[in-house]
């Protein structure tokens, strides 16, 4: 097993931490949407960026929004959020948004809410502090994603599929936490020390 992939135990711990973080995220999303919302417990995977690009092939011809937000600290990287247009419309409707700029703003907010609450909580659980920079939104066509520098710069990706349900609306999205090898090493270390403490 490669130095940079997680063992089954480590993966389990990460999943557990993520579940806790998701609880927080759900509460924040509910706050933001001002409605009772549920987030389905996500499945997380750690994959290589090249594999991610391969997965993204499915997006060809689809319309979607793609937003990113960088974070810094012991655990650093960039989080990306994909949301399909239908889900974005659902969001706009719910928030009574008037124009496209407001929609972009709301998507960024959702990105920020999801990634911040997840990542911060995750970091907290591992005794680290991280800071977020301003998110940015991209409407990249599929072929540009493939050559996008942001994605290429990172080696490993934590992929989290999310589904937010509120009222009778649904928002489907995918969160990618892109990290460099150093951060993955740090994550692995933290996970194994948590594991040790549990034993």
């Amino acid at each position: 097993m490669s130095e940079l992939s997680l063992t089954q135990d480590e993966q389990d711990v990460l999943q557990e931490l993520m579940n806790i973080a998701y609880g927080d995220a759900t509460a924040v999303v509910a706050e933001m949407l001002d409605a009772f919302a549920t987030l389905s417990i996500p499945n997380i995977r750690l994959i290589e960026t090249s594999a991610l690009l391969h997965e993204l092939k499915g997006l060809e011809g689809e319309s979607y929004f793609f937003s990113t937000q960088a974070f810094n600290g012991m655990f650093s990287g960039e989080s990306a959020f994909f949301i399909d247009t239908q889900s974005a419309c659902n969001l706009a409707k719910h928030l009574d948004l008037e124009n496209d700029e407001d929609l972009d703003d709301a998507i960024l907010e959702l990105t920020n809410v999801l990634t911040s609450s997840l990542t911060i909580r995750l970091a907290q659980e591992m005794n680290a502090e991280i800071k977020f920079s301003l998110p940015s939104i991209n409407k990249l066509p599929y072929n540009k994603i493939q050559t996008n520098k942001t994605l290429q710069e990172y080696s490993q990706v934590i992929v989290i599929d999310t589904e937010i349900n509120f009222k009778d609306q649904k928002i489907n999205g995918e969160i990618f936490i892109l990290t460099k090898d150093g951060s993955i090493k740090w994550l692995k270390n933290q996970l194994s020390s948590i594991l040790e403490a549990l034993m």
Binding site: V28, M32, E109, V113, S116, S117, I120
Partner: protein
Amino acid sequence: MAKESTEQYFRSIDVDKKLIANIDNGIIIVDEALNIYYFNKWLEIYTHLKEKDVLGEKLNSVFANINVKTLQRKIRTALKMDSPSFYIASNSKYLIPIKINRIKASGFTHMRQDVSVIPFDTEKRLVALIISDQTSIVSMNILLELNIQKIEDLNKELIREKNIIDKRVLFMKINNEYLITDCSQAYMDLLGVQKIDIYLQNFFNYENLKSAEELTKEILNHIQEKKVYKYEKITLTDKEKEITLLNTLVPEYDKNGMHIGFIIFSENITSAKLVQKQQQILLQNSRTSAMGEMISMIAHQWRQPLSVINTIIATLKVKKELDVLDDATLEESYDKIEKTVSYLSDTIDDFRNFFKTNKELSLIPIQTIFDKATNLLMGDIKAYKIHYTENISDDIKINTYKNELIQTLINILKNSIDAFKDTPRENQTLTVKVWEEPRYVIIEIEDNAGGIKEEIVGKVLEPYFSTKSKNGTGLGLYLCKTIVEEHLNGELTIKSKGVNTTSIIKLAKNLENKKEEI
């Protein structure tokens, strides 16, 4: 000691407050209901409002433009997350309206702002709104996007043009190892080939120039000298159609001037070649019009023998009337007439052969040729008292078309006789000299019949030029020139000095050799 005093100093001046007051960002502290708790100096300067006037006021009543719902949502979220939420300048433009009047602001009336909503006091539910000026970045981004758009447009245009060139222009690129590295669609379409058939093939193999070794050598020479080179080449398409290409090989250099290969531009000249061929056929057809010319020539050459026959018949008539006609004279006359008539029909054959290319060459002594030529002229030579001499050594032989040479000699000798006829004089001489040079036989025919005037000597070889009014057609010397230059690969010159006229015929000794040389 130093450390202690430093600490004391910083404690006394309240670092945070001093810094925040002077920081290059706007800072407002509000609660969830948007009541203002703090309004920093930066904002005072930009909004022209004093902190004391806005404290306790609602942000949305100070700034009416604020979307309360969105701002409150962001505040709630930030507090809930205990982590900032944001407004992004590119989407939300600005939160606090601040007029700007900078020249470089690219049309914005208000400062563009990024706003971070930072949880300040979770218990009191206070947040700090940190406002930063993003105007130049946003306008820069707009400028950038505009330029990116321009570049993309240009790029599209370039691609479009490249496509047009690709579709229309026949070209191929080869690298320094003579491998084909690029090939236009037009070229592939013309030959009916696919990329895989052609890419990275060796140019020489592909061009299949093995058969044309000479051409391959030529191309290689030019390639090595990095010179532009043009050559024609016949190629087969996939449908086995023969096409002719005019290829131009141009050396290609990279941006540093390093030679990196060649571009071969091709021009499909198949149809041009076809036109050329058709022209040749037309030219052949114009031989039919040459038939007319031929008939004129035959007629021209018939005049002398016909006049010989005429003379014989006239003589016979007179002798008969005087009743002095004996059998011997009759026999002799018949014989002469028979010979002359056969010469007439030979002349027809000679001229029929005139345009054939596969005529038979004969190796023949020059003397024999002169004997045949003078045969018809001897009557006149004697009648006009011309002193005719030949200076030909026996062993001079020539490999040529003999009948055509005979016709030429007859014409030239006849012209001399005509000149003597016109202006008889004392001591009339007609002299023939023949000598050899390594590759040529030179025939010189000279008379003293009065010469040719300087102003017309240059015209005598032209068709239909004659000074003999109705007696001359002016075709004689033209015929000679045509025969000598086009059929015998020789040269004919007519010179005149005083009463003398000299005709010089320079002939290839061996017509076959001469032909190979060309």
